[in-house]
Amino acid sequence: MSSSVATQQPAQSSSPPTPAAAGRPQKSLFARVLARPEVGALAAAIVIFAFFYAVAPTFRSLPAASTYLYASSTIGIVAVGVALLMIGGEFDLSSGVAVTTAALTAAMSCYQLSLNVWVGVVVSLVVALAIGFVNGYLVVRTGIPSFLVTLSTFFVLQGLNLGVTKLITGAVATPNVSGLDGFASARAVFASDIDLGIITLKITVLWWLAFVAVGTWVLLRTRVGNWIFASGGNEASARAVGVPVKKVKIGLFMAVGFLAWFLGMHLLMNFSSVQAGIGVGNEFVYIIAAVVGGALLTGGYGSAVGSALGAVIFGMTTQGIVFAGWDPNWFKTFLGAMLLMAVMVNLYIKNYAAQRK
């Protein structure tokens, strides 16, 4: 898919780019930063951080930071993919359950055959990518909205998770895989603690930052990123100028599959065994993180960094309420109020940025 496009050389007679163009007035750095999709989420994250810093003494400690960063990372890893997919104009409601599917597949394939854990890791990667591929293929092939296609996948996977697990293991949870060969190395990759001297971080936090960096780079610095924005922003016009929209979308669904797989591996290596019914509902948390981070529900706009900030807001709020020691009966109410506040700060900053233009 790389060969055909680069051959379109501009007509040779064109005059080389002249430095004269550089004389055009550029916007100030401040104005350009304000125009980024994630700036509102950044402001909201700072406000929420300051808020909990003020009301919850334990929130100020480094171990507490480690805890809420861990919470953010387990949301944020999949949210990066979900944000990219939403920028590309599609939804994935199956991502929460796909995490469980990946973990179950890995656990059962290596346990039942008494193989090295890494075999299960690879098999489940193939399965997770296949789920993404099927989602994408059905969406681009049938033209049915991805909301419906992935809702179906969501139900299908939920049933498969239970049915297949029960069929293979005789129970609705996988056996404990911690006794298998390769478990220690797999755990080191997916679920270890990294001691950075002053703070001990879960390795998922580092992976999460890496995925956000890769996502940002792909979006802003590569051709594929250009195509993702175009596919979500105006699919018909993207297709008309030769963007392979179908491949882009299938690729995005597969990227979500990959990240769901990664989180699934963390789940398995962290807890050694997985219950078949978990993961339901998390797809919305990922979508919330992407949207709070500035991604448009209609596609064509958003950022990977934004999804990370959305995850941080969600992670800080859920853990911050515990750190603050508030009455747990009101937990969901606090959570809702905090998210509303985040979205409102976000909106306010965006309006402010728009007025400055």
Partner: protein, 332 residues
């Protein structure tokens, strides 16, 4: 789309190759377990074949319910019963399922009643239609109001109290009771029971469908209050997640839990979990079906008009050796 089809083929090829290459074997795993343990014992031959419907509020994918079902199926096999199992966590939908079974004129009905007001009337309709009906697992306070014959289950309040008193005795101190589904009556009842006999306790809500977040939230609580001496969890998987949280936070809190599975049993043996309170779900499923069979074939009614308690049965280091083999069978 030709190239996407090609990538599909490649995908299949990769899967096949992975499976083929996976030659490196492991020490553990199913292959080294030897011949599997047999299922339910003796095939009691009955003259008449009955159909019994079991309708629960199981949210799919929980090992606890698996054991209830295993018990029910073992009893059905023993007595040559056809078992129609169905479930829905939504009370209204569960009532509809019961109505369906009543109108298909089953011989006996076993229901759980987490929400008696919604489910009771449907069960009462079955009783009035002349179908012997028992309740189990949930609804011990209300089953009589609807004319239901018998009840098999544990008393959540009693179970909670037994946990609380054991904690107060063995490891007194601040206790956090972790509820994985906010507003669930049975779970709230357990923690209320704990609070009666271990007064210095408070409740923490977590999202039981997201284990990492369970670990994170319990971890945050331990960081916030370093004086916590006991974590009480209400499900086996939550207990294991809370152990991770304790390790992360560097806390010395002790874990006690409700429910039993193979991993929890292993942890009790290894000393990672202090004890668990088992309400013996296998017995609930088994007895619900068997009591109906006895009623249909012999006119029995068990319990003398009072609930039959299947728990709390406390499992700790003193009796774990005996119980551990059964957890592997998924019957305890």
């Amino acid at each position: 789309m030709r190239s996407t089809r090609r990538s599909l083929q490649a995908l299949v090829a990769v899967t096949a190759a992975t499976m083929a290459l996976a030659a490196c074997s492991s020490e553990g795993g199913a292959q080294s377990e030897g011949g599997g343990g047999g299922g339910g014992g003796g095939g009691g031959a009955a003259d008449q074949e009955f159909t019994i419907a079991m309708i629960t509020h199981e949210a799919p994918g929980d090992t606890f319910w698996d054991k209830i079902r295993n018990g029910a199926e073992a009893a059905a096999a023993n007595h040559n019963i056809t078992l129609n199992y169905s479930n829905d966590p939504d009370a209204g939908a569960q009532a509809t399922l019961i109505q369906n079974q009543v109108s298909s004129q089953v011989d006996g009905l076993a229901v759980t009643m987490p929400n008696p007001d919604a489910i009771g009337p449907a069960a009462q309709a079955a009783v009035e239609a002349g179908i012997p009906t028992v309740a189990f697992n949930a609804g011990g306070d209300a089953y009589k109001d609807f004319g239901i014959l018998m009840y098999f289950g544990s008393n959540e309040d009693l179970a909670g109290q037994s946990v609380g008193s054991k904690i107060s005795q063995d490891n007194p101190g601040k206790t956090v009771c972790v509820i994985q589904e906010q507003g669930q009556v049975q779970l709230e009842g357990r923690c209320a029971g704990v609070a009666k006999t271990a007064p210095d306790s408070e409740v923490l809500y977590v999202n039981g469908r997201d284990l990492p977040s369970v670990q994170q939230t319990i971890g945050a609580k331990l960081q916030q209050d370093t004086s916590i001496a006991n974590i009480v969890t209400l499900g086996a998987d939550i207990a294991l997640a809370s152990q991770k949280a304790i390790a992360d936070a560097g806390s010395s809190a002790q874990v006690a839990t409700f429910d039993l599975n193979a991993d929890v049993a292993q942890q009790i043996q290894d000393g990672g979990i202090a004890f668990t309170v088992d309400q013996q779900p296998y017995v609930q499923g088994y007895m619900a079906v068997t009591s109906l069979w006895l009623n249909l074939t012999n006119g029995n009614d068990i319990g003398g008009g009072a609930p039959v308690l299947t728990g709390p049965s406390i499992v700790d280091s003193s009796n774990i050796e005996q119980i551990i083999p059964y957890t592997a069978n998924n019957t305890r």
